[in-house]
Homo-oligomer: 211 residues x 2
């Protein structure tokens, strides 16, 4: 049989990110171009690592709990940023509280400017040295992405707060234990260094289903 | 000035591996070809993760302590093995005791057949389902690599045992916290997915020093 392009579903990948996560920064900055090149559509999903780490018995980032791992991570992140041409400066506070940013991102991602907002928040934290827990930082990121300031207040609605809790529960049920993660039809990929594997899997999956 | 090839030191990278480590398996199977292609010489160094994990408060492999992480690792390992064309079958026992294998490897690596012995041990564990803590398994690996059986007894000498303890202490002093790791003049790279970064760094380092 010949493949029938009109019956093919677009290849889709869900990108799970946590604003406090350093390697999520790398993926956030490069996923749009990488996915376009691979012919894959990206669903951006913010979630919170805090409750997932707590369930594993970690009261803090493992990069703080295990100093050798933490020292290595900052060095590796600087090297990988350089490799990808992404600006990087180690923030004074780590991890930062990304709850407000995640709540606003949920609203922003209903708009085409959503990814630009997400990148603005990551850039504020890991390139400009700002604190993303500050309302003024998030306000500036909304401006930069061309999104309305009222998202800051809307983000605190009970529905929107519940949606972020649900996203985190869904992540845990799908077996996520870190960020960034990528899922394609229930298949899980963890870490910025698995982005290419995940995109390849999404592309192949669709080709098989559509042939 | 023109570069003077005769004055250039060969690019060198130290490959730190633990026989119980799943991702060390992938690196062990592919590093020889990858390093040759990159023009880098590899120093193979077995060490033990047990004392390093114990210092971080882990009485077992983190893949056993954190089940979500463990489930993911086996899936990821199967996918990555397929990607590299490396045979893979999940062993019944994990982690296995690799102390005897590491002691014998130290002696084997004084001979040109050393890397072949290391690959034979990893293959026995992760492709053939054997237990590398068994003396008979290691005996068969020596045979396969064309190395003498008396290495099995020689491996238990006080000097050789002390050498493995020293290797592990050196690893910890260099900031190693997992395996595989790669070091190039004190610069640390962790994980099979950083092998290419490490080789590139080794190659560049030498080019800069020798130019």
């Amino acid at each position: 049989m010949f493949p029938r392009p009109s019956l093919r579903m677009a290849a889709r990948l869900t990108f799970w990110f946590e604003f406090a996560s350093t390697y999520s920064y790398l993926s956030a900055m490069r996923i749009a171009d990488a996915a376009t090149a691979a012919g894959v559509r990206v669903i951006w999903r913010p979630f919170l690592l805090g409750p997932i780490f707590a369930a594993q018995g970690w009261p803090d980032s493992p990069f703080n709990i295990y100093p050798a791992k933490g020292r290595y991570m900052w060095r590796d992140l600087a090297r990988r940023s350089a490799l990808y041409g992404v600006p990087f400066r180690q923030p004074e506070t780590f991890p930062q509280n990304g709850v407000l940013a995640a709540r606003v991102a949920q609203l922003a991602l209903f708009r085409p400017q959503g990814p630009a907002f997400v990148r603005a928040v990551y850039g504020a934290q890991f390139a400009d040295g700002a604190d993303i827990a500050e309302r003024t930082t998030i306000a500036a990121c909304l401006d930069r992405a061309g999104l309305p300031q009222h998202f800051l207040d809307d983000a605190g609605s009970p529905d929107n707060k519940a949606a972020l809790r649900r996203a985190t529960e869904t992540a845990m049920q799908m077996g996520l234990f870190g960020a960034p993660s990528f899922t394609v039809d229930g298949e899980l990929f963890w870490g910025d260094d698995r982005l290419e594997d995940a995109l390849r899997h999404a592309f192949r999956q669709t080709r098989t289903a559509g042939a």
